[in-house]
Subunit: 236 residues, 2 copies
């Protein structure tokens, strides 16, 4: 739950970011037990593979989500900036981009590419959560769709730590496969700054700011539910 | 109406393109009385300005429509290609692209930029027709949304003629403003080839091909209705 101030005064940028960070501290998926185990190095190979394979469904849907968000942005200049997210994931050419980088990561972790590409490794709970995210962005006000992406503010710290963790605890994953995470280290901060500026401009009442923070909570729930499904699945 | 063959056999690529061309010969907007008058050089300055200003609403909505179509394309490689349409219209940077080129065209034709940007020059009939097109692409099957873009097959001939016509009959329009049309001469053929390949692959029954041709007719109706509204409006 987000704390509702009795004053209902518009939050300053600093206060809004502070509220965002409090959500992150409570609900971002690095707090999930599965994630904690990942960072402790105690996931089995099967669990790690299950996470990588299922997260691929999320990666695959990002340019779809971002195309939908881009279709809603009121300004051409903002579409141009948002387009960079699509370029990052789809690539500038067929042999490039984040989706392919994640596939390389999966390959580095010994996951069967044809099973992955056929969608046979995706858990229903993961598909439902990711589709809920895409549909949220399809159906909601543009600035709420943008707000839901603001979990990117929490991402860089986690991602840089993740590189370390994988190298240390999961040495059976080929380090060549970590390009995806290295690229995200500079992409995510650029994206989140643009997203934050858009939301701060559009959410011009306390009530709208509150809705924007709820959108971030929703996105945290999406990421959390994915880990729930991955955590509870049995190795097949 | 599209002629329905009793055989219901899948059309060959050649037959499909032939059917497309027959639609173009009958329904493409160059057959509209307003367009005929444009090409004869008999539009008044006010009429020409009204066309340019209202067509701007269409131009402005193209990247929105293309973002929606891109969000539906099943293959990453097709999204990469489709993205070029968005780049063409939105630009690679803020000072670039088709929307800006159309604004320059409007300026070259002496149209008040602030009135144009405020949307005060858009006729309701034009807005309804363009929005119908965007909503068609938002709501229909991806290959029908793609099919509706196939009017681009008819465009290059018209566009190259249009450059001539404007230079000859409307000399009060600064020739510097014609960049938009010059760019379209190479963009439209590239786009329509990709669109055609996608539709031919997806429409794998005669019935689907028939629906794809109906989508092209729908798009012709959009362009035609825009000219109806522009033709009937009174100078205000």
């Amino acid at each position: 739950m987000i704390e509702i101030k009795s004053s209902r005064q518009l939050l300053t940028e600093e206060q809004f970011v502070e509220s965002l960070k409090r959500i992150g501290e409570r609900k971002y998926h690095d707090k999930h037990p599965f994630h904690t185990r990942m960072h402790e190095g105690s996931l089995s190979k099967e669990e790690m593979q299950r996470w990588i394979a299922n997260r691929y469904y999320y990666q695959k849907c990002l340019p779809v989500k971002d195309s939908l968000v881009m279709s809603k942005l009121p300004e051409r200049s903002d579409r141009i900036k948002w387009r960079e997210r699509i370029v990052d994931h789809d690539g500038r050419a067929e042999d490039d981009g984040g989706i392919l980088a994640w596939l390389n990561f999966a390959e580095a972790a010994g996951i069967d590419q044809s099973q992955l590409l056929d969608g046979k490794l995706f858990l229903p709970g993961v598909v439902f959560a990711v589709d809920a995210y895409v549909n949220y962005c399809r159906n909601s006000e543009w600035w709420l769709a943008v707000a839901s992406s603001l979990t990117e503010i929490f991402a860089p710290t986690l991602v840089s730590y993740r590189i370390e963790v994988i190298e240390r605890h999961y040495p059976w994953i080929d380090r060549q496969g970590l390009t995806y995470f290295r690229n995200r280290l500079h992409q995510a901060p650029r994206d989140s700054q643009h997203g934050l500026a858009l939301v701060l401009k559009a959410a011009d009442t306390y009530e709208k700011q509150h809705l924007a923070l709820k959108a971030v909570e929703f996105k945290c729930d999406v990421l959390w539910s994915m880990l729930d499904a991955i955590d509870r699945a049995e190795d097949g």
